[in-house]
Each structure stands twice: as structure tokens, then as C-alpha cells.
Symmetry: C2
């Protein structure tokens, strides 16, 4: 087990009555908040009205910024920073999924610096302050509701970059599984792949003596997969929605990576697909993860065999460790198909002519990933495996 530092002060408020309580968790001195959200779905569902009524009752002034899209855009982040500075906003309330939360985090960091926010992303600079933010979660996927990270897309340069800092962990996350009962199928299952990927990026490690977190990772993957199947059968299954929501927060809270070297190559490759084609994040992972697995499994066959055994229950004493490892990857692909997620680039209409460009943007002259170091050529090979 490696040394680690862990700090996660996000207050989790979970249950069907969670939204009604959110103002209890606002800092006492909040005068004006930015309500940041996507499109009309929170208006159609009534959530917008509920929130506005609560804020009105509490005499908290509200400035609104809607229009967050999947793969949240730098231009809107800049607009949010401008509004917050001009209006002296002292809190950001993110109502939505990972894109809204990530956009809020970038705004929160940008308000507290004189520099252009994109410079911080590009230079990986430490931030020293950020506005506090709170989350009312409507899509379980990103885990951003309690994570220290934000990922923003620069639509001009077609780059997608991340920033990490404990200052970006939300003050609170309101988790009401009921809000997810009517999620469209694609959002539900792309979210589930995103959640699984957050576990897998931590699970596939070469760090020794990480028995507890290995077992916690496997527990989380099993839960996500079994409840994914339940939601295929019945999208209105509250119990399954609750398991997925809690799993999503756990998966990216940081707990599952304690003391482990993490990977993150699949995310980096997926980001390049999104940057060029606008593909949904969870969809890129559904395509890249199996390809990545096929490319890297020989690095540590025992780990992939363990994955097969512990997550999918594959036991066959007539098979070699390698055969079991490969069966595990196959079963993972089957799961993705069973939840109607694509496993190949062509299923999403992604052409094969920009592998070189994506590989260069992703790995440059270096490498990505740590389970196995993936250089530019290896990125191309992984993309080939995703054909």
C-alpha cells in the first residue's frame, strides 16, 4: 500500500426528502448564489420551481446561468466567472449532472483568480481559493458531486482538460434517487459505464498489498453491474436507482483509490474522442475500456483473472489464468451490450482517419496511464482494437 493523503468534506444528503433540506447546508453568510444548470429538464420535472421557491423563502438572491451542455464548454465557464465577479456571487448551486458540476467548479476556481481560467487547466497550476459550491444531483455518473476534479472542453482548440484540487470538493451533495427515475436510457447507462470506469481506473494497478481497496472496488463493480441489469428490466426501480446513485458517489470519492497507483489512460483516450466528435463521455469509455483491456491485460494477467473471478464470478479450473482473464474481458463487453452501450467506434459513427491526431494530442512524446505506460503508438493500437 502506498502512502496517501485523503480529505473529503462533502456533506452527503441522501433520500427522497433531500432536496427540501438543501439550504441547511449553505454557508451562513450566503447572500447571492449562482444557480447553474443545463437545459429545460429541471424545469419540466418541477425541480427548478422547487429550488426557486425554497431560495425565495430564505431570502437568498439568485443569479441564473443555464445552458450547460455535455462536455461543458470553456466559453460558458468564462461567462459564469464574469457574472459571478460582476454580481458578487458568493455561492454556486449546481443542479444537474457531471457537466453542470464541472462547469460550476471551473467557475468557482476562476472567480478567485485574476488569471484566465484556461491557463490553470493547461499549466496544471495549483489553485489557492475557490467559491464554495453545492450540488443537487440529477444524473449519477461523474462522481463530481464529491470529487476534487473538474473537466472542461475548450471548443476553440478542441481540447478537453482537467483540474484537481480539494478546494473543488462541493460543500454538499443532495442525492435524491427519485430525480433519476425518469432519466433517458442513454444517460442512465452511459452514467453506469462512467461509474464503473471510475472504479476500474483505480482497480487496475500494480501496487502490492491493497487487499481492502481491491475488495471494496470489486464490491462496487458488482453492485453497479447487478443494478445495471435491474434498470434494463425496470428503469423505475427505486432501489436500483438508489444503489447506482450511492455507487456513483463512492466510485469517485477517492476512497477506492486509497494507497493505490491509479491508471486513467482510458479516460485520456476517451477525452480525445469527445474533443473531436462530441461523443458522450460514458460512451467513449464503453468503447475504449474493452480495447484498453485487450491491449494491456498481459502486463498483469493475474489481476485480470482476479477481475474475472471476483466481479463476474468466473470459476473454471480447466482454464488457464490467461483464458480466465480473457473471459472476464468478454463478460464485461457482454454487459456493455446488455445495457445497450456501444463497444466499437463504428457504432457511434466515429471514423478511423484521425487516430494519429488523437494519439498525438493524448500522449504527445510521453505516455498516459500507469498500469501500463501507453505511448502514442500504443494509443493507436488501442483505437485499432476499438474498430
Amino acid at each position: 500500500m502506498n502512502s496517501f493523503y485523503y480529505y473529503n468534506p462533502t456533506k452527503l444528503v441522501f433520500g427522497t426528502d433531500a432536496v427540501s433540506k438543501f439550504t441547511e447546508y449553505l454557508p451562513k453568510d450566503v447572500n447571492k448564489l449562482l444557480l447553474h444548470y443545463g437545459g429545460g429538464s429541471i424545469k419540466r420535472s418541477g425541480l427548478y420551481d422547487e429550488i426557486m421557491n425554497i431560495l425565495k423563502e430564505k431570502d437568498i438572491e439568485v443569479v441564473e446561468l443555464s445552458g450547460v451542455t455535455p462536455n461543458p464548454k470553456l466559453s460558458l465557464v468564462r461567462e459564469g466567472i464574469k457574472i459571478c465577479k460582476e454580481e458578487n456571487v458568493d455561492f454556486i448551486l449546481a443542479v444537474g449532472g457531471g457537466s453542470v458540476i464541472d462547469s460550476s467548479k471551473a467557475i468557482a476556481a476562476g472567480v478567485c483568480t485574476e488569471d484566465d481560467i484556461w491557463d490553470l487547466f493547461i499549466e496544471g497550476r495549483e489553485i489557492s481559493d475557490a467559491l464554495p459550491i453545492g450540488v443537487i444531483l440529477t444524473i449519477p455518473a461523474s462522481g463530481s458531486e464529491s470529487s476534487d476534479a473538474t473537466i472542461i472542453s475548450n471548443e476553440e482548440t478542441k481540447e478537453k482538460r482537467g483540474l484537481e484540487n480539494d478546494l473543488l470538493r462541493p460543500e454538499f451533495a443532495i442525492l435524491n434517487p427519485e430525480l433519476t427515475l425518469s432519466l433517458p436510457e442513454r444517460q442512465t447507462f452511459a452514467g453506469i459505464v462512467d461509474i464503473l470506469s471510475h472504479v476500474m481506473e483505480r482497480y487496475f494497478t500494480n501496487t502490492k498489498d491493497v487487499e481492502l481497496t481491491d475488495d471494496l472496488c470489486e464490491a462496487t463493480m458488482r453492485t453497479v453491474i447487478s443494478n445495471g441489469y435491474k434498470l434494463v428490466k425496470d428503469p423505475k426501480d427505486y432501489g436500483a436507482r438508489a444503489e447506482i446513485m450511492l455507487s456513483g458517489t463512492m466510485a469517485h470519492s477517492g476512497i477506492l483509490g486509497l494507497g493505490r497507483q491509479e491508471d486513467w489512460a482510458s479516460h485520456r483516450i476517451g477525452h480525445e474522442i469527445t474533443a473531436l466528435y462530441g461523443t458522450t463521455h460514458g460512451v467513449t469509455l464503453s468503447i475504449i475500456l474493452p480495447a484498453w483491456m485487450k491491449y494491456v491485460y498481459k502486463t498483469n494477467i493475474d489481476r485480470f483473472a482476479r477481475f474475472a473471478k471476483k466481479v463476474f464470478g468466473i470459476e473454471d479450473s480447466s482454464k488457464t489464468q490467461e483464458e480466465i482473464a480473457l473471459l472476464g474481458i468478454e463478460r464485461f463487453e457482454s454487459f456493455l451490450k446488455d445495457i445497450n452501450m456501444p463497444c466499437r467506434l463504428e457504432e457511434e459513427g466515429i471514423p478511423y482517419d484521425k487516430f494519429q491526431l488523437m494519439a498525438e494530442k493524448c500522449a504527445g512524446t510521453g505516455t498516459v496511464g500507469r498500469f501500463m505506460k501507453i505511448n502514442k503508438d500504443a494509443v493507436i493500437e488501442i483505437l485499432e482494437l476499438a474498430k
Copy 2:
């Protein structure tokens, strides 16, 4: 899954170099701290000198209060409160195991009230403020290093009572498994039982749809048991010490109980044994847990059968669920014997003549526990099963 609120802001600093960094996590305005510890073991190990040198370098004034015993005493808590008030102490550094941490928490709460601290324990009153505390952990067991709870023994009334509040969660916990390599056998394994008990008090529930936390609980129990066996073979096994230390913190952090109704009857009964006979906390649990299991398992045979299957890997299609459930309890007892922990009152020389008194103090005219409500008569029956 039930509604829940969860907040755990303790910074975890884990690894062999963790102690050297602890002042990084002190609040900036600390001028004078109370160094609270037990006896001579931190002096013999060199830890005391290391801490004092670091504090001297940082020009932080230190007041010392040693003498914390297992089942920390109210009299010393009162002394600590007096010292902190007189000396204007603004931070408490707990160096030790659960007793030292719990004593520190009680002092921290007592400093911020004009009332007698014991009144807060007896009346279960909400505290509104507490001094911040930090922990350098030397015994993995109580999980108090990141929990919201403290348990104190009143030596005059022979009562043992707890207080819970998020204000009691430490600012930081320094977790260096090396500090535990030379722990005496009894402390090591009583600690392991305490850790397991914190999972079990959460695991045995009748709450439905708690698949994720069920699986996380089982993962933690498996890890603690397998590493317990490793430490029987080799107490110097750093990897196993690391797993136990991290498991101890996880077990009582609150994560494993999210959305679950918890039990805690075994703890309540164990406390009465300690209050009368001074028995080590983990030892009381080693005696009471198997007896409690035998008394309550029929309430929910499926849960006990699941425990047997998932934690001990018992699979036997020729057996009924009840037979499997009973086998699981048997295997748990075997584990306790394998780590040289007692399972019967007589092994610790505890007489049988005060069952009535213990039952009255424990359950009064009400009940304890929630997996099964245990009244006074049931407490006596459980004590009978521990004969």
C-alpha cells in the same frame, strides 16, 4: 436504503512518513496544544521525542496530560478540561489508541461548555462546539480517529456512556502502520475484534436494498479476517498491519452504515461488562458477539446465511439456510479462537452473579439493538449463552 446524512472531514495521512508531516494539518492559529497520551509506550518507542521535537521546531507551546487508561476515565477528562481552560489551550493532539482519542474528544467538548461534561453524556445533549483535535494513531481498533463518537467511563458510578457529534471528528488522523508493528498480541487482536464489531454492528440489519454497503461490509470483514490470520503468523508483516489500520478507520468512518439501520446491542452489553470488571473493550465483544449471534440469528436467517457464505466462503448445497447460518457463527468463533481471543466469560474470569444488574443497567425497562430488540431478559439470555 434509508435516507442519510454523512459528513466526515477528517484528513487521513497514511504511510511510514506520516508522523513527520502532522503540523501541516494543524489549524494555522494554534498557539498552545494539549498533548494527551497514555503511559510510557510512546516514550519507549521514541514517538514522544519525535513529536516534541517537531512541535519545538514549529514554536508551538505544549501542555501535557498523560495517564489515559483503557476505558478512559471521567476524572482524567475533567482534569484535561480544567487544564485546557486554565492554560488557554486551542488544540488537542491525541497520541495513542481509542482511549486516548475518546478522552481527547470528551475534553474537547467539555472545554466549550460551562456544564459538567458528564451531564452531556447522561442526557445525550447536543454539543454546539468543541476544540479541534488531531490524532497520531498507535493502535488500530476503535476507529475513533475519524469517527464522530467518544465513550467514557465514570469510575464512581461504574457507567460507560457515549456521545456522538460531527464536531468530535478529528481534524486529521496520522496513520503510520509501522507504529503498530510492536503492539502486544492482546492489543493487536482485541483491536481486530473491535474493528470487526464495528462492521458487524452495521452489517446485521433488516434494512432492504442496501446491496452496495452489504458488499462493502463483507469486503472489509474478509480483509480484517485474512490479515488477522497473517498477523498470527507474523506480527511484523507491514502489509497486514497496513490493511488492518486502514480497515479500522474505514470500519467506523460511517461509510459502511450509509442508509442502514444499525444495531449496537453487542456494544451496549459489552460496555456493562467493562464497567463492572474493567475488561478490555475488544475482549468483551469477542465474548458477546458470538452469544448475541446465537440469540438473534433466527430473526433473519438469510442474513446470517449470507454472512457465512460471503465472509467465510461457506458453500454447501446439502445444507439448509439455517445450517449454513449456524456454520457461519461457528466459523466466526473459530476465527476468534485462532487469534487467541476468548469467547466465554469464564476465560476472562468474569463471574455469573451480576447478569441481572448488567441487564438492568443496559436495557432498563426498554430495549437495546435494532436488528432484534433486546430487552433485559434477553440480555440475561445472551450472557447465559456466553457462559
